[in-house]
């Protein structure tokens, strides 16, 4: 019986690090051992059953950690009142920051998808010279604190830089504008997307692409018919992680795009001006807006994986 072969593509340590974020496991799409469909008794074929004391202890331990991690969300829900939500959200202009954040987030996702997906594919397939250099560069931008990114963006696209002057000639500015908000969000979320997408592409066995070409598909067609469908669950997860980063972007935004107000800034300024209680409803709005896309992507990729198992 042929053992499931790991894909030949390079899965970098950086991609592995991002795997946790994207939810795909490299090599997962290699076919399972034949005959794995035969159901049989035994603990291996029935996950999720608690069969021993140690199993029970591990379930309880996992539940404690899980609840602890969810603690902030629980606290948020516990301290909210309908009245507070209603009065906070019905104030004039209260939802403008939400609109700004969602619009900038949508632009960010579009740019990331168009610009960074090819980069991720090239990195996953080892088509770039000095692959470690590319990864190290991405890790640098991943490791930079958002606040520092904001500071450095001022030096890069601020009004007195060459780029800033070029933008000025077409009457654009990359400080305190919608463009600035988008730039800040892109810089905060791009490394998450690229590394997640790289892991997603690396999980597609290159031999499948080769097979598609031997069956008569040009590379672009093979990419569309084989690579993309197989990588899509992982790509969706990477996009949704990027979306969550973009929605919550604060550090870089507070430096170069204080205006137009995004949601996180609204929370911060409300906290500064009127206190904790009035900031909480906006935190709920952020959660409600940022969460559905990742949840949908997660559910969808889980379904795609289940379907593939037959």
């Amino acid at each position: 019986m042929p053992a499931p072969c790991p894909p030949r593509s390079r899965v970098s340590w950086a991609a592995r690090a991002a795997t946790a974020a994207s939810g795909t496991v490299p090599g997962e799409q290699a076919p399972g051992p034949p005959g794995s469909g035969s159901p049989g008794p035994g603990p291996l074929t029935r996950p999720g059953r608690v069969r021993s004391v140690s199993g029970l202890v591990s379930v309880i331990g996992a539940a404690v950690v899980w609840i602890a991690l969810l603690g902030p969300v629980i606290a948020l829900l516990a301290h909210l009142s309908w009245h507070a939500i209603g009065s906070a959200l019905s104030a004039p202009g209260a939802l403008d920051p939400l609109a700004a954040s969602v619009q900038a987030g949508a632009v960010t996702l579009g740019v990331l998808f168009v610009v960074c997906t090819p980069l991720a594919w090239l990195m996953a397939r080892g088509r770039l010279p000095f692959p470690r250099v590319w990864e190290a560069g991405l890790l640098c931008s991943l490791l930079l604190p958002p606040l520092v990114i904001g500071l450095l963006l001022i030096f890069m696209v601020g009004p007195y830089t060459p780029i800033g002057e070029l933008l000025g000639r077409v009457h654009l500015s990359a400080t305190n504008t919608f463009l600035a908000l988008c730039i800040a969000e892109i810089y905060e979320s791009a490394p998450y997307y690229v590394l997640g997408a790289q892991a997603a592409f690396a999980s597609v066995d290159p031999r499948l692409e080769q097979q598609a070409e031997l069956l008569g598909d040009r590379p672009a067609r093979a990419f569309r018919r084989v690579t993309l469908p197989l990588a899509t669950p992982g790509l969706a997860m990477a996009l949704s992680v990027a979306w969550a980063r973009a929605m919550g972007a604060f550090g870089a935004v507070v430096i170069i795009a204080y205006h137009p107000f995004g949601l996180p800034l609204q929370i911060y300024t409300t906290l500064q001006e009127t206190g904790l209680a009035s900031a909480l409803p906006f935190a709920l709005v952020l959660l409600v807006v940022a969460l559905p896309l990742p949840l949908a992507a997660y559910g969808w990729s889980a379904r795609a994986r289940r379907r593939r198992r037959g």
């Binding site: 019986m1 034949p34 080769q210 070409e213 031997l214 040009r218 197989l230 593939r308």
Partner: protein, 328 residues
């Protein structure tokens, strides 16, 4: 007609080989692991860039490194390559996998699926298939994609013997019915013989012998080729020549009319299949022979049926040297 003359550099060796396979003909490319067999197939399929090559399939020049320089990309070659890893697309059902490269309309996919015994599996996802089923789907997918040549790269490694034989028979029937040239790469002589009428032995990047399957085994061109097709003992003869002894070409007892009589002491004896395999020490050489009955201990006489002879340089001798091998 598939005509391939290939020279390709690998990290460890340069592979040089010329093959010609007629439509409907089956050639087995046989040799040890690492001999360069797969590399040759990959050049024919357009997956590897050769140093020098000319590949012509049915009048179409697929690869030519001499002017006019040609390198048809893999997706325009119409060369089917079946590997050990069946490479089914995990996101597509068996039906969609079968029809992947199929462009013409009609009932052909359904007919072929029935012929391959896959009719009930069409809606199933590949993850649910057994190894043999997956290979049948991969084979059907190639055949539906209109390939003009079929290249099989150790496709059945890891499947059990009876399944392997059944799949081989199926491929042979399909190759004959469709009249395409087929090349099987394998390191198992039995697989090569079950599939092909003609055998080419590749060793360290060189073709050492090409010929009908029986001739290659009974009359190896060199001592090295003999070793590859299973000759396990070389008994000294006259003039520095040696006689090659194949374990399965040995019968018990002295039968001077049928070959060379050898006698020697039994060193070890072990069950092999339905019979016994014994190592004998003959004239300072050790030979291995397959016998139906367990040989008694001590000296035994066996007859090697019409063995091939090799000169001191390792090349095959056309006739036995004058002085026959003598038993001790």
């Amino acid at each position: 007609m598939l005509d391939a003359d290939v020279e390709v550099d690998r990290r460890d060796l340069t592979v040089r080989a010329a093959l010609a396979v007629a439509p409907g003909e089956r050639l087995a490319l046989f040799g040890p692991s690492g001999a360069g067999k797969t590399t040759i197939l990959e050049v024919i399929a357009g997956l590897v860039t050769p140093r020098r090559a000319r590949v012509v399939l049915g009048g179409r020049v697929l690869t030519s490194t001499s002017p006019p320089v040609t390198a048809v990309p893999p997706w325009q070659r119409r060369v089917g390559l079946l590997r050990q890893h069946p490479g089914l697309f995990p996101h597509l059902s068996v039906r969609a996998n079968l029809a992947y490269g199929h462009t013409a309309a009609g009932d052909e996919p359904a007919e072929l699926a029935a012929m391959l015994g896959l009719a009930d599996l069409l809606p199933v996802m590949p993850a649910r298939l057994s190894g043999g089923q997956a290979h049948r789907v991969a084979l059907g997918r190639l055949l539906l994609a209109r390939c003009d040549a079929l290249l099989l790269d150790e496709p059945y490694t890891g499947l059990d013997a009876s399944l392997r034989r059944a799949l081989t028979d199926l491929v042979v029937a399909l190759v004959v019915a469709r009249d395409v040239p087929a090349v099987l790469v394998t390191h198992e002589l039995a697989d090569a013989q079950a599939f092909a009428g003609r055998l080419a032995i590749l060793d360290r990047g060189r073709l050492v012998q090409t010929g009908p399957a029986d001739e290659v085994v009974l009359r190896p061109a060199s001592r090295r080729a003999a070793g590859l097709v299973g000759y396990r003992g070389f008994v000294p003869s006259a003039d520095g020549a040696v006689a090659g002894i194949h374990p399965e070409r040995v019968v018990a007892g002295a039968q001077p009319g049928r070959g060379v009589v050898l006698s020697g002491a039994v060193i070890t004896c072990r069950p092999a299949g339905a019979g016994w395999e014994a190592d004998l020490r003959v004239d300072g050489a050790v030979i291995t022979c397959r016998l139906p009955d367990k040989p008694p201990g001590g000296e035994v006489a066996v007859t090697a049926l019409d063995p091939p002879y090799f000169g001191p340089d390792g090349a095959a001798l056309p006739a036995p040297p004058r002085q026959q091998v003598r038993g001790r």
